[in-house]
Amino acid sequence: MTRTDPAPYRALGLTEEEFEAIEHRLGREPTHTELAMFSVMWSEHCSYKSSRVHLRNLPTDGPEILVGPGEGAGVIEVAPGIAVAWKIESHNHPSFVEPFNGAATGIGGIVRDILSMGARPIALLDPLRFGPLDDARTRYIVEEVVHGISAYGNSIGVPTVGGEAVFEECYAENPLVNVACLGVIEDRLMHGRAEGPGNAGVLFGSSTGRDGIGGASVLASAEFDETSLEKRPSVQVGDPFSEKLLIEASLELVRRGLVVGFQDLGAGGISCPASEMTSKAGTGMKVWLDRIHLREADMEPFEVMISESQERMLAVVEPDDVEAVLDVCAKWGLEARVVSEVTKSGRLEVLKGDELIADVPAEALAEEGPVYERRFERPSWIDELQVATSGDDPPEDLAGAFLSVLRSPNVSSKRWIWEQYDHMLFLGTVQGPGADAAVIRLPKGDVAVALTTDGNGRYCYLDPYEGARLAVAEAARNVACTGARPVAITNCLNFGNPEKSDVMWQFVEAVRGIGDACSALGTPVTGGNVSFYNETKGRAIYPTPIIGMLGILERPSASVGLGFRSEGDVIMTAGATSPDDLGGSEYAKVVNGVVAGKPPGLDLDAERALIGFLQEGAASGLLHSAHDPSLGGLVIAIAESGLASDLGFELEASFDHRILFSESPSRAVVTCAPEREVELEGLAERHGVPLARTGLVGGDRFDFGSFSVAKTEATDVFENALPERLAASMSL
């Protein structure tokens, strides 16, 4: 093979230098099987080659953190002896190609990550980004993604308790499907390590087919032309029933102490756990290909090694326990076979019959992937963008502007989505979708966690550093609105092509922003996921870091909701509103069609103060409701509090549009009983939070002082906006 040939490594996504590095490491040319394994393990997705140098700077330590980044999921101790696993993943590209199965298998993947820690998955959140709904293909994608999440998540018995849905032009041909999952450690924390030479590797779950082989199929044909890519199905079909059995069988194995360690099979197929588990433990592994249970008879060895067939796990088991492990799998109706053995060699050896078809150092696959310090540069267009008008011109009429923003699918109710999700299983959903953060009472102990995902692509487009800080702050605030204490984050970084210096700059800035905000708020990063190459036809999405925040609420019964509680309660606004915070706002986009200027300014000290105020306000029982203004500003936040409990209100002063629609962070609309107003003022003062009396709950109108609408009209707009826009679409 000469270098000028259409080389397979290129079609596999490896560069000339990477290929040479592999040759150098092995001291010979790699076999086809080895090349396939390297190509997946050294891919951006598995090796984090463009992001690693930057992610290193994130804060990862905290008193509650039991496991930080680097394992299947972060693990957080929420109360003595009670630990949870928390992680987010992306499944963007597969969800564009085949939205139903792409989204479904996205759920499957994150759930197995949680499971691999020995945790029972108990909650999902699904931050989603789509194009505008006036496009039929987009409506189809929305329907199918939501249906896929619903079909898979409901069936495996993991409730989906929150998420986001944002519609913006830049996602039209590049939707984002991120999924976060929470699990509770049931018996003991597991680590994905292949300890103990002589131990058996048991592969259990679904059979292995050609799923997800995609680009690597070039290896199967002599010529590497376009059509070879078509030959193999790369679409993965989810099987929620197998996943459910996998959950139950895995947890039974952990409970009975039958496994030394296990890891799920995701991207990279069996090559991934086989190399990662051994390299972490300093061991090696021999894999007998012929023992792997195949769905299709004529699979090539390399296909078996990198197949991404879903719903599979690899467990390392002591020889004496093998029988018991196989029995547990049989009881749950799962195929299980001993396919490998842990060795001392430090190598991953793959045998087909007696033939050694791959023999590589496990570390070379798992740890020694390339690390790139990609060039990044602040693009000049960002300066032009930031000085442009932010779109804060006044509206023709305020009531009309309010209704337009309320009708925007970014703001309007997402009930159409979340009613399709089981969000109540496990009797823990104290607050579910529709709340600022989901509040989930854990099955063990009387303690709850608050969970939210937040990210604002527009802010990050205007300023990735500020946008990322704003996302962390909003996530923390959403958690605090329920009364919980923000404790840790997981994050999913969705960006364009990192080989472009402006995209890389956005990435570097966003990571720096997340790090700074997390340090200031005391919420370390427990892990996450990077999704690059979110581009279609050379156009990148807005930089979209999604923050998954977890908070702890010691008394679930003290949780505070966003809905007003009783007529006569006093509405107060905590935090300061700046009339200059309309850059990148929903108002600027919806009313004036502008996305420009600078995003709202953020003071993290003010944010911390507000969080402290909200927590204490909830714990003391002073707060009857709390809700933070985000998209759409104060008007929308107050309206949402009324909509959530079907109560009207009357504001006591008139404000202009720049105050009403400003998206200043670090604010909350709160209510308390009229006789406790002074007490609440005292609390705010102690925390150094400005608090202004804003109005009263009651009546059948949403009366904003300068304008008013009937409660029924607002309800109609809020509830029907999304279903009406989707109504034109339809699928089987």
Partner: protein, 228 residues
Amino acid sequence: MSARVGVILFPGSNCELDCRRSFDALGAEVEMIWHGDVALPDVDLVVLPGGFAHGDYLRTGALARFSPIMDAVAAHAAGGGLVLGICNGFQILCEAGLLPGALKKNVGLKFLCKWTELRVDNADTPFTNRAHAGRRLRIPINHFEGNWYVDDETLRSMKENGQIVLRYTSNPNGSLDDAAGISNATFNVFGLMPHPERACDLLLGSEDGALILGSTLDHVASDARAAV
């Protein structure tokens, strides 16, 4: 003596722990039963919980009704024992022929997880005796196939007998006669799509489900008294 409740665990069930927890809280003695067993332990009430037995593949309940335990469940019912099917459990009971009718896809062709309001139209059953006729209950649903159907003639006789025990006040799924919960002719087998076990705690939104679950326990207790 407290009532003994057996909750059957099918592969793919997912509400079994919630059922256990809610019955536990009401003072019942709860036991899990594996679908592959052929005999029932000594229980007063058999519960078929919600979930997706066998993935709901082919049809909801189509494979589960062949589980080895189902013969024993049928025998238990034939002997007058109480059987409660919730959601997927209701679907399995219909497939097994222990309850009349079948459950089709919701008219909106969407999975629906939401709170519903139910009306008790027959309070004189082992599953509703803690309520009074006309009582409204707030209990959530969580299903794709809850659109109950039965032929006209059967429906007529069921209505006459009072076998349409619970009705939705606002039909969410197209179910015939707004039926949310139905009973067999002898009132010892009861199936409903809403999840009473999810409505036994005010912190989660309602305690009305305890009326349904609690009724079975009262019935068992009064049976026991009668037997003494």
